[in-house]
């Protein structure tokens, strides 16, 4: 409950206050994972140290707890022989720890994924990759955030609802990317958590968030994601894909109210890295 209140009521200043640290500063840091999350999400499957498979990066201290940039990078390119099938991102001490589950194919080029998340309290954050041989590899970090702030629900909700579901897809060639193209998908969506009270009506704005994201190129899946309320307002995802020919990159988003939005970007024939 304490956590939830923090989330609701975070002060709009990035306070690096030390107080919440004491509860989590010892070996019990991983209690939620050990006691609950691990078995909930992976049963009794073995999970090995993932440093040779993925690296999870997040700031040690969140500058703005409502918008914390997180990136997960794969240690090797996607090939038919060896690739990462899925990555699960968990934020242990958030009200809903599962931030997202991301699926990739050989077509992804690289199983990198970056996004922005809400962080409610001092918390471990972990990414678990499943490779195509079915094994699980974990990368973990710890993040300090307190007093996370998003504008109270309702303040800008009207404006946000007017552009609900608008999307932007931008691609960028990178020199070292083996032909994979870095792609950023931005979705205009308030991603309401259901825990933010409207101070005028004293009612909680009902949860309304992006649940599924699917990106395909000429009909072949590139990246898909199941996401939850830990993803920040106006979700933004960054990933790779390999455009071997010209075609259409299509993003389809479904939210928790069952609304579906689609956006298409025409990609020219593969260009030399520039």
């Amino acid at each position: 409950m304490r956590q939830i209140e923090k989330w609701i009521s975070g002060l709009c200043l990035a306070l690096a206050a030390g107080a919440p640290a004491q509860a989590l500063a010892d070996s019990s840091e991983d209690a939620v994972w050990n006691e609950r999350l691990r078995s909930e999400h992976f049963g009794d499957r073995p999970i090995v140290d993932g440093s040779d498979v993925i690296v999870l990066e997040a700031p040690r201290r969140a500058e703005d707890a409502a918008v914390v940039p997180v990136s997960i990078s794969a240690a090797f390119p996607q090939t038919d022989e060896r690739y990462i099938r899925a990555i699960t991102l968990l934020i242990d001490n958030n009200p809903v720890p599962l931030a997202g589950r991301f699926r990739f194919g050989p077509r992804s080029g690289r199983a990198d994924i970056a996004m922005r998340v809400r962080v409610n309290a001092y918390t471990p954050m972990r990414a678990i990759a499943e490779t195509n041989d079915g094994t699980l590899h974990m990368s973990r970090t710890f993040i300090k955030a307190s007093g996370g702030c998003s504008a109270p629900a309702g303040a800008d909700l009207k404006t946000a609802m007017q552009r609900l579901g608008r999307m932007k897809l931008a691609t960028r060639n990178e020199d070292d990317s083996d032909g994979a193209m870095l792609t950023q998908l931005r979705i205009s969506h308030p991603n309401v958590t259901g825990m933010q009270m409207d101070q005028v009506t004293r009612l909680y704005a009902p949860a309304h968030f992006v649940k599924e994201v699917e990106v395909s190129f000429n009909g072949t899946p590139v990246m898909s994601a199941e996401t939850d309320i830990s993803i920040s307002e106006n979700p933004s995802f960054r990933f790779y894909f390999v455009p071997e020919e010209a075609g259409e990159l299509v993003a389809t988003v479904t939210d928790s109210n069952g609304l579906t939005f689609t956006h298409t970007e025409v990609i020219a024939a593969k260009t030399a890295a520039n």
Binding site: L13, A17, P152, N234
Partner: protein, 311 residues
């Protein structure tokens, strides 16, 4: 919000202060209080981080004495600081504290409110301040329980009861005061106050030394600073840092920083840059211009990026 327009209209029509402004004298006591103009007393806070010792004394706070009443502007970051301010008032005048003005919700400006409850002071705030307080209530009570503890051991937040939506004019007794409530800028509950007799403009949202902390709307803050700079004032009291300051020049540094963020982040967005790119590069040249740069700069960049990415 019509506030900016109202402010512009006001600028044209204001018959300002007499020329006694030059009489600004310094009278410093234990609480670091300066009389910046006749009847205008300001305590200068310290420039420390929010988690450093003394962080309940960050804001510049003070009071204005009229013939009938005393008006307090901001109450500090704890009951203790608020109480020291009240004690200082009592060394200057025995007139009642009729009003307490909270310039915005940040804890260094409002947590001392309870010290003035016994005075029966009416607390004045922006019409959005009660919502912001309610939004942060649990957080304040949890995080600042010691700072909030009163002499008799209670802890509570004192919210404003007189709300300003646009403009408020009132009188402390031959001492007219004007308050403007603004559209989102530094926060979404910013007030500015003008003491018409002395031409002292009190801007809790003005940063002159410490890195500005964006908690409202970047474009709104730029517009507000520009608009206020057209106002003819003898001096301003910034929200923190050395005081008093000359006006309008004291607004230049903040304006430069905010415009730099706007330009840099727009440029990064225009070429498809990511938040991380903005965090690396936006406003980097400002680093040596501000105290406590690392406390807020990256938060500012994050807020600017998310504000602008759907503009």
């Amino acid at each position: 919000m019509p506030t900016t327009r109202a402010l512009r209209d006001a600028i044209g029509g204001l018959v300002l202060f007499s020329v006694q402004a030059a009489a600004a004298t310094a009278e410093v006591d234990d609480f670091n209080i300066t009389q910046v103009a006749p009847g205008v007393y300001v305590h200068q806070g310290v420039t420390v981080g929010f988690d450093d010792p003394g962080s309940d004394d960050i804001a510049n706070i003070g009071f204005i004495v009229g013939k009938d009443c005393v008006l307090v502007v901001d109450t500090g970051g704890s009951y203790r600081i608020g109480h020291q301010l009240l004690a200082t008032i009592r060394t200057v005048t025995s007139r009642p504290v009729c009003y307490v003005v909270n310039t915005h919700v940040h804890p260094d400006h409002i947590l001392g409110n309870a010290a003035f409850a016994e005075e029966g002071a009416v607390v004045i705030g922006h019409s959005r301040l009660p919502g912001a307080l309610a939004h942060n209530r649990a957080f304040f009570l949890d995080q600042y329980s010691e700072a909030l503890r009163t002499g008799d051991g209670r802890t509570d937040l004192v919210a404003p009861t007189l709300l300003v939506e646009d403009r408020l004019d009132f009188d402390l007794g031959d001492r007219p005061i004007r308050i403007w409530a603004h559209a989102p800028a530094h926060t979404d509950q910013d007030l500015s106050l003008l003491d018409l007799n002395s031409g002292t403009l009190w801007l809790g949202h003005l940063f002159v030394e410490r890195i500005p902390a964006l908690d409202g709307n970047l474009r709104g803050w730029i517009e507000l600073t520009e608009t206020l700079q057209q106002l003819d004032a003898a001096r301003v009291i910034p929200g923190n840092g050395p005081l008093p300051q000359p006006w309008p020049s004291a607004g230049d540094a903040q304006l430069r920083y905010l415009r730099t963020l706007l330009g840099d982040v727009r440029g990064i967005l225009a070429v498809g840059g990511f938040l991380e790119d903005a965090l690396d590069r936006a406003g980097a040249d400002e680093r040596n211009q501000w105290a406590l740069f690392d406390q807020h700069h990256k938060t500012n960049v994050t807020r600017v990026y998310t504000e602008l990415e759907w503009e």
